[in-house]
Amino acid sequence: MQIYASKEHIIAALQKGVRLDGRKPEEYRKITIETNVTATAEGSARVKFGDSEVIAGVKLSTGTPYPDTPDKGVLIVNAEMLPLSNPAFEPGPPSINAIETSRVIDRGIRESDTINVKDLCIREGELVWLVNVDICPINADGTMIDIGALAAIAALKGAKLPPLKDDKPDYKAEPTGDMLPVSSMPIPITVIKIGDVLVMDPTFEELSIADSRLTVTTLADGTICAMQKGGDGTLKIEDIEKMLELTTKKASELRKDLEKALK
């Protein structure tokens, strides 16, 4: 059973430079990245920030391309905030917050050309790969956008192409040895503002009292490829400047962790 601290209590602690779990405002929980965590997916990963945990899996299938893009495959990113993972996610249609989370993850991955969809073409106008990445939170204790996207990227990066039999993937056969072509790794990082303190890797409790939130997705060369401001509060341009500095720095650290885990 979760017992929530009051907003005043969290702010008072933050002003002394500590958080309820003992971290400093910019400090992360322990990050673990594991790949190949399920046998049935073509690629999969489990990412944890402390107790916050997500599993992502890639399922590959084939189909005919859309008539207006005959040489392009399709990448579909789907994040569902499973009611298993948090008491606030109730069964039934997803809440507006759950929809925002999954759309921000989707946008970060799809709009940054993580996969060059032209690489997914098998026979132009006839047959292309359809790539489904599903992001499933197991324990949603904050920072779901960052953890979910990281898991999705790790799963895509490790996905192996199954051989084709009559133009359909043969899931029972050994993989071909060819990997799914992944061209870039966008890394989203979320920073929240509580009072006048910037906090990174927020827990669910901290997120629920945040004044505002900014998620910044960056590519390997430091280019920003997606952004989302959330929360009821406002941000000054100076805040955003500071947040961009924090997020781009952390993104390059996390990129190294990810590359190490994928070796």
Binding site: M1, Q2, E42, L82, S85, I138, Y171
Partner: protein, 236 residues
């Protein structure tokens, strides 16, 4: 032609390797993971909590709801579309009926206990793994229970009676294949779930369940250890 040796080399009444642990979903009131071979179930319990809409409430006792869902990439073949299906709804019902006999919900009128069961990967036997995980998660949540519920499938592959069929055995190309998921209350020997599809004689069915009985005890042992271990308790 006979089925001379199991695909993965197991003995006829041997289950696949099993691991179980509790407390795997920290946001939940109780949770558990139950893995048997390549079938993995994670269950989380929330409640007793308020139940809306109100017409669903029971003024005499708490309501138990089960939500079974396969992760989209957890099937052996194509992607499984997320969201409820006719199959998952039936499973919710039979898993609920499998668990209710051990649960005391009398202290929670008008409330609900929600159990979410998800599968990162499956290789047949998911409803049984789900029941095992769900009963451990309910115990982990501190619900008043008579016992855990232990479940495994027994069945027939060609001319052999087997325990804990995997996908390869279910798809065995020769002879008759029968799949019989069974859930029991280990301490009383009562059966809380039995289903079957395929073809089998009544003698074989009874023999199959009886021959497989030691598997329920093995599973119950693993479940109880995982629950006791979390609280530093001793197994009985």
């Amino acid at each position: 032609m006979t089925y001379a040796k199991r695909y993965d080399g197991r003995k006829w009444t041997e289950t696949r390797p099993i691991t179980a642990e509790t407390g795997v979903v920290k946001m939940a009131d109780g949770s558990a993971r139950f893995k048997i071979g390549k079938t993995e179930a994670i269950a989380a319990v929330y409640g007793p909590r308020d139940l809306h809409p109100r017409f669903m409430q029971d003024p005499e006792k708490g309501v138990l709801r089960i939500f079974y869902s396969m992760m989209p990439f957890s099937g052996a073949g194509d992607r499984v579309r997320p969201g409820p299906s006719r199959r998952s709804k039936e499973l919710n019902l039979v898993i609920q009926k499998a668990l209710l006999p051990v649960l005391n919900l009398d202290d929670f009128p008008n409330k609900v206990v929600d159990v979410f069961v998800v599968f990162p990967q499956t290789d047949a036997g998911s409803r049984c793994a789900g029941i095992c995980a769900a009963s451990m998660a309910l115990a982990d949540a501190g619900m008043q229970m008579k016992d855990v519920v232990s479940a495994v499938s027994v069945g027939k592959v060609d001319d052999k009676l087997v325990v804990d069929m995997d996908y390869a055995e279910e798809a065995h190309p020769e002879g008759e294949v029968a799949d019989i998921p069974v859930a029991v209350i280990p301490s009383t020997g009562e059966i809380t779930l039995i289903q079957m599809d395929g073809k089998i004689t009544k003698e074989e069915l009874i023999k199959g369940v009886k021959d497989g009985w030691s598997a329920f005890d093995t599973i119950a042992d693993i479940q109880r250890k995982a629950i006791a271990g979390r609280y530093g308790g001793k197994e009985e």
